[in-house]
């Protein structure tokens, strides 16, 4: 079976600068895959390019039988890929409820959307409490939960998660990662995870890629990477 997401020799960037030179990675159905790397290695750009928000300059992106290389971002969601972007990017003056509704923008099955809304409120009870408040008034952790819940509202086969732990208290990070692991184990949702906290990411993921200046320099099982002395020295602070 071909992988759910397959990225080959991907090149992209901003203005005159190429950020990604040669990214190759894949995510199988039911897998959690993580990308680790230093600031500026191209992790966020990889996610944005995969989901069409940044234009592909070379190479290929294939997802679930579709060639996404030239597909604009707004058409990617309905194919089953959703992103919780870096910095959360929630809509600050939309209410929590409206933010979640925007996550389901491409869907038309109203009863099922209402069901999923209840599920999100089950996963993140604080969002239910605050559903009438403007998203911009939530705390950082609550905004992160909202960003993830919003992405889940499209019922994605693949969730792209960018830095879910950024700036959050450790117990909230644990809570969020437990939920991610749960969604993967119980619903078979695939996850492509970008994380500064490499240890955490490698513990959750099945496989991992190491990015350096726009290239994949290492790829292996997460458990192998976790014990690789080079990784331990460079990314795990040992």
């Amino acid at each position: 079976m071909p992988p759910l997401l397959e990225v080959t020799a991907l090149r992209s960037g901003y203005g005159p600068i190429d950020v990604l030179h040669d990214i190759g990675l894949s995510v199988d159905a039911g897998e959690i895959v993580t990308m680790i790397g230093a600031n500026g290695a191209g992790k966020t750009t990889t996610l944005l390019t995969v989901s069409g928000a940044v234009r592909v300059r070379g190479g290929r992106v294939a997802f679930d039988g579709h060639d996404l290389t030239r597909t604009p971002a707004h058409k990617v969601v309905s194919l089953g890929m959703a992103q919780s972007p870096e910095g959360r990017k929630i809509f600050p003056r939309l209410t929590v409820l409206e933010n979640l509704q925007m996550g389901a923008f491409t869907r038309t099955d109203k009863p099922a959307i209402a069901d999923d809304l209840e599920k999100m409120f089950g996963l993140f009870p604080i969002l239910k409490e605050r559903k009438g408040q403007a998203g911009g008034l939530l705390s950082g952790g609550q905004q992160q939960m909202l960003a993830i819940a919003r992405a889940l509202m499209s019922r994605p086969k693949l969730l792209l998660l960018d830095e879910p732990s950024l700036g959050l208290a450790p117990q909230i990070v644990t809570q969020i990662f437990d939920i991610i692991r749960d969604l993967n184990a119980k619903q078979g949702m695939s996850v492509l995870l970008v994380e500064q906290n490499a240890r955490l990411a490698l513990k959750v993921a099945h496989r991992g890629y190491v990015l350096e200046t726009g290239r994949v320099t290492l790829a292996d099982k997460a458990s192998v990477l976790l014990n690789d002395p080079r990784i331990r020295a460079a990314y795990l602070g040992e």
């Binding site: 604009p72 058409k75 809509f91 600050p92 409206e98 923008f105 911009g136 939530l138």
Partner: protein, 325 residues
């Protein structure tokens, strides 16, 4: 037994209030187009006033084609006195029905052809292009209606709808202004607040990248925003032409400037702000000409604008909710 009320200070003040609110409601309708477009693409669409102006000429052309006198056509014309109330109302409805999509389409077309290719260009490029489009449309208006003020058929009378003993005048024209502008503003507010497309418009305005990641076709949403803003200007043009009785190719510049000021005053990008700003400008204009002097109204309006912006640079209702990072 009824008393004839003496024209006291308060009746005069109330009268200025009625007239000011009517003018303000019209300005607010135009201001909405500026503010919606600014809210979503951070561009001052200088051509907006001229789209409004073209709406006036379209409405006049429609009436002339229906057999009324205007635009230099005066042979075998229908007399206004021969038209019943319903016929006049029908003609007004027809004008609105045609001017709104017409102006909506022009505004959409401007965005599609001029602003959209410049979406990622430096700010100055679309801004200067907007000024250019404004001049082009003004010249179209000049070609269409000539350099002079053009008479617009008086389909709405100046008859007072209030009993004479109140000492106040609420004319049929006033009622027409409120009757068109208020429902449109309410409809727009409800649309933006509650419909899926309205929410997508707000989402696009607040974070276009995130909106695209939600599956929102932001280019389409922006195009629709231009179309809606244009349509409101089209309705405003019909109302203005009926109220004032003449139109000219410069009316877009004058009223556009008032409306743009209203949008900034209320907090550009905020829909309730445009309405509030419009009403304030209308009131200041009428109070100003009654109590300060006609020739000072412009100075008053812009003086107030400057004072408010000094203390609230984001406008009256523009309180930026900061995104937590």
């Amino acid at each position: 037994m009824t008393f004839a009320v003496e024209p006291t200070f308060w009746t005069a003040f109330l009268q200025q209030t009625i007239d000011g609110l009517a003018f303000g409601a019209l300005i607010a309708l135009i201001a909405l187009g500026y503010t919606m477009v600014y809210g979503i693409v951070e561009l001052i669409n200088f051509a907006h006033g001229d789209v409004f102006m073209l709406g006036g000429f379209l409405a006049l052309t429609v009436l002339v084609l229906c057999g009324l006198e205007g635009l230099g056509v005066d042979q075998n014309r229908i007399k206004l006195d021969d038209l019943g109330l319903w016929a006049k109302a029908g003609l007004i409805a027809l004008c609105l029905l045609l001017a709104m999509p017409f102006c909506g389409a022009i505004n959409f077309g401007i965005d599609y052809m001029v602003y959209r290719p410049l979406r990622t260009a430096p700010r100055l490029a679309p801004l200067v292009s907007a000024i250019g489009v404004s001049f082009i449309l003004m010249n179209v208006g000049l070609f269409w209606g000539g350099a002079q003020d053009v008479n617009f058929p008086k389909l709405v009378s100046d008859d007072n709808l209030l009993p004479a003993d109140t000492g106040l005048r609420l004319t049929a024209k006033n009622a027409m202004v409120f009757g068109v502008t208020v429902p449109l503003m309410i409809a727009l507010t409800l649309f933006v607040r509650f419909t899926k497309l309205g929410k997508a418009m707000r989402a696009t305005a607040q974070n276009p990248t995130a909106a695209r990641l939600m599956g929102i076709n932001t280019d389409a949403v922006i195009g629709i925003t231009f179309a809606i803003g244009g349509a409101l200007a089209g309705a405003g043009a019909v109302v203005f032409a009926l109220d004032v009785g003449t139109i000219s190719y410069t009316m877009g510049f004058q009223n556009g400037l008032y409306a743009f000021t209203a949008a900034v005053l209320g907090g550009i990008g905020r829909i309730p702000g445009a309405v509030l700003g419009g009403l304030i400008i209308g009131l200041v204009r009428y109070y100003g000409s009654a109590y300060v002097g006609e020739s000072w109204t412009g100075a008053l309006i812009f003086g107030i604008l400057i004072v408010i912006l000094v203390f609230r640079p984001t406008g009256l209702l523009g309180s930026p909710t900061r995104e937590k990072v």
